[in-house]
Symmetry: C2
Subunit: 314 residues, 2 copies
Amino acid sequence: MKALVVGGAGFIGSHLCDALAELGHDIVCVDNFSLGTRQNIEHLKANQKFAVYEADASAKEELDRIFEQESPDYVFHLAANSDIQASAKNPDVEYQNTYTTTFRILSCMRKYGVKKLFFASTSAVYGDKRDELLDENTPNLSPVSYYGAAKLGCEALISAFSYMNEMEALVFRFPNVVGPRLTHGVIFDFIRKLQKDPACLQILGDGKQTKPYIYVTDLVDAILRFMGTGKQGVELYNVGVQGSTSVIRIADIVCEEMGLQSVKYKFTGGEGGWKGDVPRFEYCIDKIQSTGWKAVFTSDQAVRETVRKNTGRG
Amino acid sequence: MKALVVGGAGFIGSHLCDALAELGHDIVCVDNFSLGTRQNIEHLKANQKFAVYEADASAKEELDRIFEQESPDYVFHLAANSDIQASAKNPDVEYQNTYTTTFRILSCMRKYGVKKLFFASTSAVYGDKRDELLDENTPNLSPVSYYGAAKLGCEALISAFSYMNEMEALVFRFPNVVGPRLTHGVIFDFIRKLQKDPACLQILGDGKQTKPYIYVTDLVDAILRFMGTGKQGVELYNVGVQGSTSVIRIADIVCEEMGLQSVKYKFTGGEGGWKGDVPRFEYCIDKIQSTGWKAVFTSDQAVRETVRKNTGRG
């Protein structure tokens, strides 16, 4: 199989490339290296079956040329703005990097007859439904972030393109994803802040924000397990883990793993970390678990393992 | 009030301009005149409170200049590709004219602090759910047309922009809209075909496609009635009528009104008129009717009245 991995040098994308390489597939990695890094894929360069294109998936002609040249069998689309906090200040980022990339990729798949897609969606499509157990049939999706809005728009595109062109699409709604090569987010921030000042940690919000964190290798495992949906149209899963972890708990774990004691926490206050942040949500993962799949790491374990790997202790 | 009507020279937009003019509002009509026509707004040109900009709402700078210059109080956004059959062949049209226009408009509202929006959405966001009674809480929206996909993406954008910028947004999901100044669709097609050949009428599909048709003045009446939602966030309504009308019934009505007898119907066959066409759907309109609002025309009456107006008999 020849796999086109868009966003393949990014945090999740590069782990997916690792797993696809392990399975012996041909891999075409497309990345604009805005969030992805060359370092993330450096170790794959020796692989004869691994090719890299520095290209922006929102640029029509560039992407078209890659599809024409490579004729992939399967497209894994992980290119997006992944920093919700950043795009809150500039929604254009989501229009360009999240929605437009998806539209261009689907248009190329339509043009070149590529029938199989994996798409990385997000819990942010639900919006702020903190008192509901969110499953794949939850109605009234009302994103509160530009990121969630763009991703929901992408899901809608995938629905129409797969219907109109007989595609098989696998869509996962991710919770927070953590692990090695993380570039932003609360764990990343806490480590960086504590490296600068090991006595005091500023925490956005009241620290009670509580979300499930999935370990990146668990996620990649699920992607590969479900990629052959075997049916036309969209197969959608909430991908989750056992439990969830509060921001204060994350701070505690980071301090423990960094060997820091009596760190003073300073809270900026308020329920969410920033406007558009959903302070807590709970996923129903019955659908994916009913297939027998289960994440290896719980949410707390995923956080701890991430701290270890990102502080060189793992 | 100063109203910015984007798509104001189009079929629905121009009727909305008429109604706003009647109420004495200042009106800024923005249209790229791709589907809208100068003829639709010709009669409004004498009105001192009516201004027209020939501009494309997907063009960032152009739209920005209009917002800066006009400082509208309320934006009515009716600009979109409205021809589903056409965009089935070229999804770029929806990306540009339906999604991008909405993104640009919302970005300008954010920049210039405009807090009130009306948005024309569509039954096509649901996808093909022919055996369900569709209401505002129906889950799993799965558009089968690029048009429906783009509009659902717009609804998602409105959700996030209204949350992030304290906007009041009114969203109507329209069924088929008919009336004077119609530019395409089954009634329009039938009249044109019968004017060419009054003996024989080609009908796409099996003719059993059955949908609700709302008369444009009923729709405009509802827009104006609900435009002051009085609450932050999105207020969403399915706007509908009593009954629905099959394509064969439409053919019969067109023939009756054109005074044609024993016209031979030739069916192209199949359930839908074209791929991406939803052959029938049924709307639950309890929510809007619970407010006391009701369309004047039933679906059959709306069709008949439209034939009369568009054949100069009304």
